[in-house]
Amino acid sequence: MEYFIQQLVNGITLGSIYGLIAIGYTMVYGIIGMINFAHGDIFMIGAFVALISFIIFGLTGVALPVILLLVLLIAMLFTACYGWTVEKLAYKPLRGSFRLAPLISALGMSIVLQNYVQVAQGARVKPMQPLISGGLEFFKGSEFVVTVSYLQIFIVVLTIILMGIFTYLITKTDLGRAQRACEQDRTMTALLGINVDRTISITFIIGSSLASVAGMMFVLYYGVIDFYIGFLAGIKAFTAAVLGGIGSLPGAMLGGLLIGLIETFWAGYVSLEYKDVAAFSVLIVVLIFFPTGFLGKPDIEKV
């Protein structure tokens, strides 16, 4: 039982990270109907920016909460630039082109970003000393002590805060309204005087910022990153987005949590080696039985 609770806690933490990346996939898919394959690499760049800023601020000796806040903002800012540029360079010229073109372009962009970071930062893994240590212990009397580290609490709380801000942004502001309108009908939205290009750019900026936060959490949680982390994390986050129903924002978060839990429980109870297989198998099974995901809208094909 204690072991189960421990896995649950770990799973929720991991799921928060996946969920934040998944939002970027689902938003972009919702608005322009393409799989932004480079999103996983945007997440990786976010992790690198966070790592670099942690090292720089680590030398200055500022208090920890200030460092966390500063790194968060810096990572969001710089990573958003990447998201914006990728959209402008690789996707915008292809709008209205045939369906596979943006996907191939995204694939190329993903290869470019990965190798660019490899060249710029070196291929070696980058370890970082843990910044937030310690935690709360439960079930002290029993055989298995459940530990909820402060870092895990930080990650989950930060995710909840960001989700709150994000939900407000999408449901209550003009920006969110424009964004949702673009999802429904881009031509009509343009006719009503909304700058569609700008809205799409902002979608990419929001998606990239959330991915960069996930990247920062990844650095803190695992303490080790390399230029290749974006691939697997990206695929799993996409799986999460599909699982929750692509295009649905609460679905992305739910899917992220589920993928995090499935992976952790699989690693804890079944086999550690095949934990990545778990995510992919779940993806295949879900797509067979719920082709639109759990919270997705049914996709009606019109002749």
Binding site: L100, I104, G108, I288
Partner: protein, 422 residues
């Protein structure tokens, strides 16, 4: 041009520079390096300023150019030359190319390195043609094609090392195994729409790779399989000193022993395999099942209403595509004599898909051109090991942006209702 325009484009370029600074500043400018315990930052501001300067200059020139209402003609000129290749010309090109390929090993400048590159290009051409059946004809985006390549390679390696059967028995078996895996994957997922299918096939490719790494008892894990038998020339091995009671190739034909014999044989082997793939595709396009693939690619709902069974049609495309992937895989195994999961990563799938799409989906000649172009690029940048994948990815993006239909766009259906509209 007015002064206002110049000032405007100058401002725009400065903005580009600002963005470039934000992009390159942290990632390029602050290089992390481990020194003893922990990481330290090594600043590299020189490169950053160089890159930012290039971005500003480039943007400024593009702005000036577009203000003068002239497009960048270089690229469109370059690609329009290829577009001029019509089907008739393509036929001439094909015959010339095949003739060239046949005499290639005996040309004076051909050395070992050229042969190796040629064999590699031909392997990718064969994979491209195999995948073209799935992507180009049936319109199903398969991002896990390398899985079938891996299945073919491992089936060949395992059968050949365990039972000691010859290449010519193992080759069809490997194809059958790969086709079986194609059907295995195809059954559940073919109901999915394009993008979903792409991700699921990608996942399948990763599953196969993870199994290859972890199923230590059978696949020997990350260490791979060594000592895979080399192919023999109809029973004559390519060995300097053959075993007892065996005649080797050079002894039988009274030739001086040379390692090139084996290379040349491998070259012709893959050439023949690739040409068989091509011939098969060209023929099957004219059969009902081939027609059904193309019809399905154009409009699935119309197909359903006309009584074409989409699942079976897609399954055959998947199985046949996978089979050719399996053939290519067993060739790869016998050529390398060593395989490990390292060779079957996602990037391989991406390269093969890129070849098919950049070549112009459905175009057989396009696959040849794209393979030569892409593999050639990566070979040219071989000395700049780290930069070649950047060039490769960049080429993918650029070709998609400037020529989204590929080098040779050939989505023309093989048959038209009212004859050839010209």
């Amino acid at each position: 041009m007015e002064k206002k325009d110049i000032i405007q484009s100058f401002k725009d370029s400065l903005f580009t520079g600002l963005i470039a600074l934000a992009l390159f500043g942290p990632i390029v400018g602050l290089r992390t390096a481990s020194k003893g315990e922990g990481l330290f930052i090594t600043p590299q501001w020189g490169i950053v300023f160089l890159l930012v300067g290039l971005c500003i200059l480039g943007r400024f020139l593009i702005n000036l150019n577009s203000a003068r209402k002239t497009e960048i003609t270089f690229f469109s000129k370059f690609t329009s030359k290829f577009s001029a290749i019509t089907e008739d010309k393509a036929k001439h090109f094909a015959i010339t190319a095949i003739l060239f390929a046949v005499v290639f090993p005996f040309l004076p400048f051909t050395d070992r390195y050229f042969m190796d590159v040629a064999i590699m290009i031909l392997t990718y051409i064969m994979l491209g043609w195999g995948l073209n059946i799935v992507v180009g004809l049936a319109g199903l985006l398969d991002l896990g094609y390398v899985a079938f390549y891996a299945v073919g390679a491992y089936s060949y390696a395992l059968i050949a090392t365990t039972f000691g059967w010859s290449f010519w028995i193992c080759l069809p078996l490997a194809g059958v195994f790969a086709a079986f895996f194609g059907i295995l994957l195809g059954f559940p997922v073919l109901r999915l729409r394009g993008d979903y299918l792409a991700i699921v096939t990608l996942g399948f490719g990763e599953i196969i790779r993870i199994i290859l790494i972890n199923w230590y008892e059978v696949t020997n894990g990350p260490d791979g399989i060594t000592g895979i038998p080399r192919p023999s020339f109809f029973g004559l091995p390519f060995k300097r000193s053959p075993d007892e009671g065996e005649t080797s190739f050079h002894l039988f034909f009274n030739l001086e022993y040379s390692t090139m014999h084996r290379i040349i044989f491998l070259y012709y082997l893959i050439l023949v395999l690739a040409l068989i793939t091509n011939y098969f595709t060209l023929k099957i396009r004219k059969l009902p099942v081939g027609r059904a693939w193309e019809a399905l690619r154009e409009d699935e709902i119309a197909c359903k209403s006309l009584g074409v069974n989409p699942t079976n049609t897609k399954l055959t495309a998947f199985a046949i595509g996978a089979m050719f992937g399996g053939f290519a895989g067993s060739f790869f195994a016998t050529r390398q004599a060593f395989i490990s999961p390292e060779s079957f990563t996602f990037i391989e799938s991406a390269i093969i898909v890129a070849i098919v799409v950049l070549g112009g989906m459905g175009s057989q000649t396009g696959v040849v051109l794209a393979s030569i172009f892409l593999i050639g690029i990566t070979e040219m940048f071989r000395d700049l090991e780290q930069y070649r994948m950047i060039a490769f990815g960049g080429a993918m993006v650029l070709i998609m942006v400037f020529k989204p239909k590929g080098i040779l766009a050939n989505r023309k259906p093989t048959i038209l209702m009212h004859g050839d509209k010209k």
